[in-house]
Symmetry: C2
Subunit: 367 residues, 2 copies
């Protein structure tokens, strides 16, 4: 990434639009629809009960033994756009793990970057006064919680909680693996109607400093700002986006087919794109997020953990998997994954084979 | 019931055999295999770390605002006989709801009467020093947790927890119905391998006094004592059992068929019995517990909530649904359910229609 903008110090209502756009692009089709995240945070900022700004900090601003938790939404994005939260799901989850552990959380961190899940920690920060770290556990979005760098790099599943809009709250402790927490919490999320708020795990500041993907809120903000500015200043929004994130354009075409099904708490499926002035097409498979893009000869253009991002070909605005529609004109961006996602340990959990594909990860190269 | 024996004041190792037999019969095929419950409590009594006796008390021994919780095992009995616990599942669950609520439990109560689930509270009592109430939430065993009188009579699902032998612990709070807790906890129990220990809910002493089935530990003990004594003093164990519990003999025959499957965390199926010296047969359907007994013309001999208990025709010892085998010679006892299980409120939850049968409950009458 070619990111050298000044880091975010606060988030106010003026940052919402840019953050939503940038996080929506980096969310690789998942992480929630940007409109949903923006609406939640806008509602809070417009409520006089709460402050007008959320503090954004860096891991080095925390003491090594400060307590950090991630908060966000779990479930299928297709459900997330229809089943709105009551807004206190993550706070109840946070309360539950604080009570269970006897610890007090000092800062929040997004579990992933996406239109909802990078915004929810800011909502909780605004409501609780807690600062939010300029970092996250994925540097993008992934469908399952063991795919957080926190768990990939060995953090114990000490405490976790989920809560739904009716107040049903479930706390998990001493769970023997992140995969088991995923299984427990996914089944309960389905039972809750397909969408819940979460808080997990309780991490020390030093762990977060070592094993989170850094500067991702600032990156999302810068990306969104650049794309929105390009729409009016005559630059090409997509070229601008590629410059900010160090990505490349993989394909531009029209959505000719979308196959999507909600199963086991995920929005799974595939989308086919056809060239506007040509005969080539490509297919992208997704599980909440875009996982593998192939051309019509079956060659892999990009795969997890590298980012496959769909944007409107004219505006550069993100298109999430829940919003895919026949006829959309889209550009597919490929963005090399952060280094922490490309290690052997990471590829075991978030490489194409971890998603059931019989293919070896080939790192995306951008000239 | 014709029960007028002196109430139990303590349970020691000398009571185990009788309690296991009596609770096994009253468990109506479920509530766990008596051998499993006895083994757990015997192991604790033989451990010098723990006292030699557990105190048994009546609801009137508790203050109105004392805190009571039920503890026991959840899952399919067929799995419970093979997947042994590590013994601390229920204590971890109890710790979890105490921490979540900030309350301290003063006494334990069995959630149901059965070969395991009336014994587990005694195990936890022995390990923690807490007294155990001579009462329970079913007066028998039922497959699902909303079938506890606590929930039938409106106690909120304030706190609940389950834990498995690996230490995975899940706490539920503010759950909006007992049916939803059943759904959450059943799915998690299946994920835990089909068997978990539980603690729930946190009740006041006054609620337990009004809405539990009273004297059931004493009844189980008296029933077991009488059956065991009859085996050696020449009386008929089965007639003796009927006298103690106010029941009747519905049928005696040989097991000619058992259809059993583990599905969705339950041991479901049906058993067919044929007369030893005749041509009649009967079929009994079960879901962990025996639910409906019909003769070969389809007439209902007995149904939930009345107790259908299978015992060995010679010894009077209980036969649980997991232990049914071709060729067993068994007698089927019918025992009228306690009054709290026969109200309209109760029948909505534990009547035959609640189990999906198209039949109206006809109270079993014993001449």
């Amino acid at each position: 990434m070619n990111f050298d903008a000044p880091p975010l110090e606060t988030v106010t209502i003026d940052d919402l639009e840019a953050l939503g756009v940038g996080a929506g692009i980096l969310g690789t089709g998942g992480g929630g629809h940007p409109r949903v995240g923006k609406l939640r945070l806008r509602t809070i900022f417009e409520d006089p009960t709460y402050p007008d700004a959320v503090e954004v900090i860096r891991p080095e601003d925390l003491s090594a033994d400060a307590t950090v938790a991630s908060v966000g939404g779990m479930g299928a994005p297709t459900i997330g756009v229809e089943k709105f939260p009551n807004g206190r799901e993550e706070i109840r989850s946070l309360d539950a793990i604080e009570t269970a552990s006897g610890r007090t959380v000092d800062a929040l961190i997004p579990g992933e970057i996406g239109g909802v899940n990078s915004i929810v920690p800011l909502c909780v920060g605004a409501m609780t006064g807690l600062p939010v770290l300029d970092a996250d556990g994925m540097g993008r979005a992934f469908p399952e919680l063991q795919m957080d760098t926190f768990f990939i790099y060995g953090h114990p599943v000490n405490y976790a909680a989920i809560s739904d809009e009716r107040g049903n709250t479930i706390t998990y402790q001493d769970v023997d693996s992140a995969e088991r927490l995923e299984s427990f919490a996914r089944a309960a999320t389905v039972d809750m109607g397909g969408r819940a708020g979460y808080a997990f795990p309780l991490m020390d500041g030093s762990f977060v400093a070592d094993y989170s993907i850094l500067d991702t809120l600032s990156l999302a903000h810068e990306l969104g700002t650049a794309v929105l500015a390009a729409q009016t200043d005559g630059r090409d929004p997509i070229e601008t986006a590629c410059e900010v994130v160090g990505g490349t354009q993989l394909f531009t075409g029209k959505v000719t087919d979308v196959y999507r099904r909600n199963e086991a708490g995920f929005a799974n499926g595939e989308v086919t794109l056809a060239e506007l002035d040509g005969t080539e097409d490509i297919t992208i498979e997704f599980q909440n997020e875009f996982l593998v893009a192939r051309n019509d000869e079956g060659d892999v253009l990009a795969s997890v953990p590298d980012l496959i991002c769909l944007v409107d070909k004219d505006t550069g605005l993100p298109i999430t998997t829940d919003a895919l529609r026949y006829g959309q004109r889209v550009t597919v961006l490929g963005v090399p994954a952060p280094a922490l996602l490309r290690t052997d340990d990471a590829l075991d959990v978030i490489g194409p084979e971890a998603f059931g594909y019989d293919l070896t990860y080939e790192p995306l190269r951008v000239e």
